[in-house]
Amino acid sequence: MKFSLKWINEYVDIKEYLLEPQKLAKILTNTGLEVEEIDNAKEKFNKVVVGQVMERGAHPNADRLTLCQVSIGSGVVQQIVCGAKNHQVGNKVVVALPGAILPGNFEIKISKIRGIESLGMLCSEKELGFSQEGEGIVILDKEAPIGKSYAEYKGLDDIFFEIKVTPNRSDVNSHFGLAREIACLTGKEYGFPIKSFEEIGESTKNKIKLEVKDAKRCPRYTGRYIKNVKIGPSPDWLKARLESLGLNSINNVVDITNFVMLELGQPLHAFDADQIAGQKITVDSSKPNEVFISFDKSEIKLTGEELMIRDGERPVALAGVVGGLNTGVSEKTKNIFLESAYFVAAAVRKTSRKFGIETDSGYRFSRGVDPESVLLAQNRATEMIASLAGGEILGDIYDIYPERLEKKEVQVAIDFVAQQLAIEINPEKFIETIKKIGCKVSVQSDGMYRVKPPGYRHDLELEIDFVEEYARLLGFEHIPEKLPATQHSPTPHNNSYTNENSVHNMVQSQGYQQAINFAFVKAGFQKTILGDVRKLRDLGLPMSDEPVALKNPLNEDVNVMRTSLVPSLIKNLDFNYRHDVAEGRLYEIGFVFDGKEGSYGQESRLSFVAWGSHKGLWSAKEVPVVFEVKSVIESLLLGLRSKSWSWQNLESAKVPDFLHPGQSASLFYEGKTIGVVGTLHPKIREEMKLRCDVAVGEINLEKLMQGQPKIPKFSKLPKFAAVDRDLAFVMPIKLTVGEVTNEIRKVGGSLIKDIEVFDVFEGGDVPEGHKSVAFRYKVQDPETTLSDEVLLSLQKKVIDSISQKFSITVR
């Protein structure tokens, strides 16, 4: 909220701080009211005054400039060159005189513009720092007094604080409230000067019948009838004050209600009494399906739940939130009914949230106003209306307040406060401090007090609240620092955190850079990339047909939760490629989401994107990049000490839509399929204009991590040497290396340890439609040295069985 220090000074003497506002800001910030901005408008508009254009001529040397004679008061007329065109002779304008320093540190100097001397500048809104743009200079009211300081004229001869008032401190949502707080913090006196007013003999109650049917949600309601008001513009000082605090001036009566709200924190509402049907006001629930039209002409369909102000026929105000169009104060209004009430915070908040109506009134009610200030505000507004709008004030007003709202007494033990703050507390000082904020304190027993907070402090309900209050007023700097002495025995980290960290390390060691993307994506993009999700489900990556959607997305680019990490990584690839990163390896570990209303789930995924090759390196050997993605997964599997896993080339029909139908394989791991790797579909590559090889992969990390971490099991080191054997087969291209490798392993049994492929080629003397594949396998017997006979017979067994099974020949 924005505060005027000049105004605050009317209730508490803060003159000393007007010279050094930073000091006051520090006091407030250190006690919980964070001053976010200090706007020293007074300084900002030094040497800026109201002027009047007396002559407007052409600049002799420039067509686009005007040469003006401007009166700046006391008979002084200055020559000023101006680039704008919207000013006429007689206009009141804002003149920055030489020496003024405008926002943006723009200093005005006497200067020659195209050979003509100019003694100042006529200002635009932009130059005054009120808007980002602005053509043309500001034209002021006809009544603006020539020569007057612009700041003073606009109520800007002031210092403004923008304070972050936390929701618990509704008592400082007003100038008087902040003055009270400052008085308490600085040990000064504060007060609210009540001016008297005269009532005429008539009774409010004879004019309007008032009934509060819902006293639970409206514990206090005051109303007064004021007749023969003259609606018109507010005086300059009132206009200036509201405008300087960001409110628009509407008319004198409405401005007064707003003024009192800013002053006392109590929202008020003025009804046009002649528009109140049946001369009757009722505070009650709305009727279902009834339509209420607010003063800004929006139609609101009521549900029967909202607390309403009604007249004899219809709803006239959404209690505490917004008034109705039908009974609003207009230029024609003669008589008014002025409402000042206490509506229960939750009720107002519920209504305002339901319809999304945010008003200054709703804001204050929903944080809680002071029930004891309701009448004060009523009288303050009455007095102002009488003096500024000339109304006649009726007496015998309504003040329906059946049950006085009083704060509960709280029992506070000084030992508890001392323990929580780890300081020693002097009981007298404690009592003095608590009394200073308006609490009543009585001693219950030694070190035990009964404390009754003032009605405006809704945040003091529990013993612990006084711990905070005391600490806040004492200053947190007095609390010592120590490390907790604890009985706690440390526990291990969450298992998936530890597991994922080892995956991170292993994947990074293979050259992959970690990406972190948003958990939400654009629905359309995700759908386009993923295509038929059934194919992904079949690959061990569960996902529903429709992603979990956000009810209120920030924008349509981030409106559903991810079902796969692949779309985000493709986006990252695109971004990088556009930024000349021609080669990259990215991975992400993140959650994908699933579920329906009332039950949602998340599962972790490990996904990769790799593009471009490390070519250009003198040592690099080029293979399709999909093999790199495959190998990072394999090295991870080895690192995780996984035993049983294999890759299966996918039939075209089963390949996910974003992958190349002929270059994709699924990972079969401990009895189930848990993911897929492949080359990015050329169609996508083309659409994204990627001129490089791209591969992606996604693994169900949840399933991969089952049973992790696996504890290593030592096996004795072999005593006998291993022997390498090489074998090359000429085989049809269609026959996969995987099938042959599996067969070699099967035939070799426990004697064959590792099988590697060290050469694959086509062409040359290899018949067409065939390839030559060279295998190297390691033979080792832990019990004995291998004899030539054993080796030969094993080789023969392997060759015979492979040749027979696949009808292929040894090379």
């Binding site: 964070e34 529990l462 120590k482 706690h488 526990t491 990074q508 970690q514 948003f518 009810k551």
Partner: protein, 339 residues
């Protein structure tokens, strides 16, 4: 006569050995003169024809010749080997200004790096990691944290709603609730993770990261909280770092405070980074509110606690000197490779 023959072979061999240019050539000469069917061996065979009394003499000559030649051979071999190694080393010269055979290593995202860094520091104090889901119930994200519906504190956080009862968690605090409901005190946990706010501008991402610490024990004071935060910041920003607490409001803590640390750039004197204040706002903290204990079924004030939390992105920007928050989400490799 035989003696001359032996001598002649010996001389010839000697000459050859000295003449040999390579170990290989030398060896060939050795075979020629001293091998199984070499010249000396042939002479040895002829010895069979000699009269009995001459045989020992002949044997002596041959052995002498062999010994001499063996010595010469091994001498020559050493010389030649050294020479050959020398020229081999010259021919094997490599240009080591060629780039290394690079095993590319990747690295963690700076957010992850810092998060792990933070966890490691808190781990030393006995905090251990707990996690929770990102789609959270309204109850865990708000109600149980003393933020009932229709409470103005809900305005403090712009919430993404999934449906009427579920939200994208707006903070990591629901993990406190989950832990307090499943584990028995004393509790000492740290909850890292992604959180969401319906807010995006120069300094805010709608999806960012927080880390939060919670301690529940018999007697827990503001001093314990202050000491823990002070230790943490000294570890993360250096031993001269100071902290300060400012009163604030969070529904789930009482007393509540925001904590600042002394500016990492100017050390507290005031500079452009800290806008002249000497302090940098880091996060929020406080003692666990009695209502939160009640919601989780933990007896208060028999058990007391503190909690603190802060955003990782902001801290990373300060620690690594990053000037644009969007870099965290773009995953630009030119950025990621710097960490």
């Amino acid at each position: 006569m035989y003696q001359e023959k032996v001598k002649a072979i010996q001389n010839e061999a000697k000459e050859s050995f000295l003449k040999a240019q390579s170990v290989k050539e030398l060896y060939e000469f050795k075979v020629k003169y001293m091998g199984k069917s070499g010249l000396l061996s042939q002479l040895m065979k002829e010895m069979g024809d000699l009269p009995k009394e001459q045989k020992p003499l002949m044997g002596k000559w041959l052995n002498e010749a062999k010994t001499v030649l063996e010595a010469l051979y091994s001498e020559q071999e050493t010389i030649l080997k050294t020479k050959e190694l020398g020229s081999k080393l010259v021919s094997e010269r490599l240009d080591l200004t060629l780039p290394g055979v690079f095993a590319f290593s990747g690295s963690a995202h700076p957010i992850k790096t810092l998060m792990d860094n933070i966890i490691e520091i808190l781990e030393r104090l006995g905090f251990s990691v707990r996690l929770g889901p990102m789609i959270e119930s309204d109850r865990n994200n708000f109600e149980a944290l003393n933020i009932p519906a229709d409470h103005p504190a809900r305005d403090m956080q712009d919430t993404f709603y999934i449906d009427n009862k579920y939200v994208l968690r707006t903070h990591t605090s629901p993990v406190q609730i989950r832990t307090m409901e499943t584990e028995k005190p004393p509790i000492k946990i740290v909850a890292p993770g992604a959180v969401f706010r319906c807010d995006s501008d120069q300094t805010h991402l709608p999806n960012f990261h927080q880390i939060e610490g919670l301690l529940i024990d018999r007697k827990v004071s503001m001093a314990d909280l202050k000491g823990t935060i002070a230790y943490f910041f000294r570890e993360i920003f250096g031993s001269k770092t100071k902290i300060r607490l400012r009163p604030s409001f969070f529904p789930f803590t009482e007393p509540s405070a925001e904590f600042d640390c002394s500016c990492t750039k100017c050390g507290g004197n005031g500079c452009s980074l800290c806008k002249g204040t000497g302090w940098m706002e880091m996060g929020g903290c406080g003692l666990v509110h009695p209502e939160v204990f009640r919601q989780c079924g933990i007896k208060y004030p028999e058990w007391q606690g503190f909690a603190f939390g802060f955003g990782i992105e902001r801290m990373a920007m300060i620690k690594y000197g990053i000037d644009d928050i969007r870099l965290f989400n773009e995953n630009d490799l030119r950025f990621l490779r710097q960490f």
